[in-house]
Subunit: 157 residues, 2 copies
DNA sequence: TATTGTTATACTCTATAACTATA
DNA sequence: TATAGTTATAGAGTATAACAATA
């Protein structure tokens, strides 16, 4: 086996990103576990915390989670009494999502732990490096959205 | 719903990375599909192409794929006659992996397509931006490995 | 007729234990 | 006894179709 056995793949941003993200995911999963959360449940809880009264369909769009998959995650959080679903007065099909007092405590502690984790993962990067990384990642995300939109346009002319 | 409903999560590199990687993954999956490949099968094929005679356990370590999961991927590639498994002469437990002529053509065409995709996803980034991004991602991957090693040390003092 | 939330289902990727055959 | 490859299996995460209640 040669010195850099994945040299062809290492030229691609996607490959480096998959590996860097796998490292982050493993670490943040371990960080969240003691709080009773996973990446998905944590991000759902946090977005509801930031947007009281949010509907499930809105949450689904924000976090790019299909509505059917969101139902189970919300069932879990509701079962723990960390969020509440209350029927919307103006549209009785929809639920308004809110984080309970208990859920707020869990969410805030978890956010502190995740912030620590994030700092650790960025060790060796300057503030400018971090900022540039955020910008580059946002650019890539947006490039992906564009090419997806293009495909949509092509398939429905 | 507020203007930036995921503002808390957007502060974290992991969140931006998950979204950027999801965009890349969706795009590269669509790019590879016409070649009969997925991300996993493509990366396996490419690493074998770069390292003829590689053993499955080595491949497993390089790509961070558990050996049992690799077996099915190799079965698939072997079934397509894109790779060959031949018993090693010096160790009759192991297989030597090689890409067939047919597999080489598929792999090279796919690599050209993935290179295109990679360029598209990096649209708007300068060569220096790209270079910095590679370095930052490698740094994060390595930070992840360190914290994992630390945990290992702690659990076996 | 369209939308909100839901159920059922299937597919991919990942992870672990236990087996076989060789070493 | 240890290692290489394999089998079986289970768990996440993700995706789509179809349904009931409501708009």
């Amino acid at each position: 086996m040669s010195e850099r056995p994945d040299r062809t793949l290492r030229r691609f941003l996607g490959y480096d990103m998959k590996r860097a993200f796998a490292a982050i995911q493993a670490d943040v999963t371990a960080v969240l576990a003691p709080h009773g959360l996973r990446m998905l449940t944590y991000s759902v809880l946090t977005v509801i915390r930031d947007n009281p009264g949010l509907r499930q369909s809105q949450l689904s769009e924000i976090l790019l989670i299909e509505r059917p998959n969101l139902v189970l995650i919300l069932d879990e959080l509701e079962g723990l009494d960390w969020i509440s679903r209350t029927r919307a007065r103006d549209d009785r099909r929809a639920y308004e999502l809110r984080v309970t007092l208990k859920g707020r405590r869990v969410c805030d502690r978890a956010t502190a732990a995740v912030a620590d984790h994030d700092t650790r993962m960025a060790d060796g990067l300057t503030a400018a490096d971090r900022q540039a990384l955020h910008l580059a990642l946002n650019r890539i995300e947006s490039n992906g959205r564009s090419s997806h939109d293009d495909a949509d346009q092509l398939s429905r002319p």
